[in-house]
Symmetry: C2
Subunit: 463 residues, 2 copies
Amino acid sequence: MKSSWKGLCQGFFFCLAIIMMDAVLKTENVQAKQGPDVSYFKLENGLDVVVIPDRRAPVVTHMVWYRVGAADEPPGVSGIAHFLEHLMFKGTEKYAPGEFSKIIAAQGGEDNAFTSQDVTAYFQRVAKDKLPMVMEMEADRMANLKLLEKDVVTERDVIIEERRSRIDNSPSAILSEQLGAALYQSHPYGVPVIGWMHEMEKLSRQDALDYYEKYYAPNNAILIVAGDVNPDEVRTLAEKYYGPVKRGPDLKARQRPLEPKPVAPRRVTYEDKRAGKLTWQRLYLVPSYKTAPKGDSEALELLMKVAIEGTTSRLYKKLVLEDKLASSAGGGYSPSGMEYGSLYVYAVPNKGVSIEQIETAVQEVFDDMAENGVTDQELTRAKNSYVADYIYGNDSQSGLARRYGFALASGWTIKDVESYPERLKAVKPEDLKRVANKYLDVKASVTGILKPAPQKQAEASNQ
Amino acid sequence: MKSSWKGLCQGFFFCLAIIMMDAVLKTENVQAKQGPDVSYFKLENGLDVVVIPDRRAPVVTHMVWYRVGAADEPPGVSGIAHFLEHLMFKGTEKYAPGEFSKIIAAQGGEDNAFTSQDVTAYFQRVAKDKLPMVMEMEADRMANLKLLEKDVVTERDVIIEERRSRIDNSPSAILSEQLGAALYQSHPYGVPVIGWMHEMEKLSRQDALDYYEKYYAPNNAILIVAGDVNPDEVRTLAEKYYGPVKRGPDLKARQRPLEPKPVAPRRVTYEDKRAGKLTWQRLYLVPSYKTAPKGDSEALELLMKVAIEGTTSRLYKKLVLEDKLASSAGGGYSPSGMEYGSLYVYAVPNKGVSIEQIETAVQEVFDDMAENGVTDQELTRAKNSYVADYIYGNDSQSGLARRYGFALASGWTIKDVESYPERLKAVKPEDLKRVANKYLDVKASVTGILKPAPQKQAEASNQ
């Protein structure tokens, strides 16, 4: 994506800055090549609005995406992005704590929210005639969040409990967190979205307000409305409800510290008596869709489909079916980060099989890809599978809304989203061979071993 | 140290804040227990001044220490602390680039500077009658640094070359950097002082000026004058030369993100055809003198003396002399960090000896310490060695000045420095056993393997 933009912009002095500040604008009136007839406009206060018509039922999905995530947190304040997401349900002058979700539920709707490293999103699914209601409520908490100290303290206990149950009670989640910290030497993707416990315990009302005031504003948000609507009625409603919300501060382009060149493979061993089985896994640091040279991400996606994804992959065939080294094996490519993506591969060794045997076998699968590439048939099957997923995805209203919201809030354009099937189809077998050689580099990897601890030892270490 | 302060402060509401803001003041008029008769005063603009009389020769050591180091750098701007240290020799309105050092040298003096994770220091050693001259020059560049773009660009090439020669040309330095990055999951001690190359390449004049204007000011500095002087004459000179320098901004207490609880040992393998020999090493994350519970740092220091420091250590005896597993082995405790210290242990395996054998043998040495402690004789020998070093250290004028400067700039007090021998003497054999059990925890460690790469493979990986 980067390189195609460069192509468009040669000779313009402020080109890069403009792209970074307002990439979405440039895609106005781009015709959708696949799927729904998506339209885009921007309110005067900077709010980007995307409308995705879906007339099959009288329901709408309403989402607000903020261009901020855990990777934008100040050092030492990990977890604040996710904590604020929770606190957004604590009400305003107009709505009491918890009332937001109750009102939606009382109308037969659903609502939820989530925080990732790059984005934070709030969404509701309601009957079409309730769209004005949710817009009014969402616009209200964009500007008028009311945080009482006691609510903040109570909710902090909630996120701490969430960390305990999701991470600290799960040996594999603990190891994943450790692997992330080891994979990223400098970039904040190494910090868990939920936060490090010792920092979560100190998160304050002021931390949340600072974050809210800086990042929660129409000029840092994207409104997605999917469903039984047309662009004009959404524009009228958006202007009515979101239009009066004041702009927030002008934010600098999002910049996170980048990784030094990886030079040495890392390895993390986590022992826990709660771990069920010895498990081997590896993460490779690779570019994301947003940062990869043209075509590399698409090729990586297809390569991983052939190599390690699912039970038809070469990895599964070799490790599980043929060599009988593992009871399961798999992995995939996570392409969505603003700065980096990662490749993930894992295997659960059969009894008596060593970690070394697993690593050798995985390396053989990868080396074969790098040396001999993949067959035309494999590539075609992988392409068909992804393109089918993409097209089937067009049938899901909330899935579509998420697809556009996530992409736009991470700095993609509507065109980037819609040209995905075409870009995928353009990948050639030699591209897979090329990216296998380029990115399957053990120096850019971290390997994790999850080890069931002997009962006695584990008890000693828990004292 | 922390706990002794707590003892003094019980019941005072702002106690902790006061300690953090102005710990040095509290030691005014404390009588030195060992060594020279050190005195302390503060100028009105906030400059702390320490005078260490040493009448043996008509020379003085003049040092200015800033309470800022690489661990205070903003994320993504690594290397700026060290870069600014270089740029401080680029002159002012009064002195041309490079003139500072030339003038000192022309007077038969020496000057230098250094940057660590916690402090930055500038020092000169000159004949006594040149003290006014160096004070005038050092005070001048504290306030009036002049940075021309061309000098900044040239000097950036110098630090980049410094990184190339010191780090990138040295396989063991590369591995050390990787081990630091793996040991610290959150704290900036994981970022190298010299900076990551990709960030150094972007350091700008403005980055340097921002850092300079924020941190280089009398209220963030400590002046140490050691040598043929008395406190009154130093006060007169300091008031004359440093007195007119304006205060800088009031800085918040230095706060860096702390580490999550370590749960999983890490391992980094670095292969390089330039590496001479297979080498094994391990770092443990432990508290520093500043952060350890009372007595723990002193006990760790003595424990490491018995266990791993030098050729009389148990490690050396076992691995090199008795079991003949290694051609050399050693290590030690680095206690000086503001937030963390580290234990370091290494061994160079003999031909045919595996890494596993080395690790087992090292663990046996440590397990024995944890289970059986050390003998009275070993402890006495270790204490005598440290106390002797401390007392001999009193004979070195520049060593003394460094001892006080480093300690004070890292947030210690003069009393902390001077009570060191007493605190060390108070350690009991059971303390060593206790800290061996408490801190020699492999979960808090990173292990590094430096591997000579086969010629062919190394060439391939360098392409």
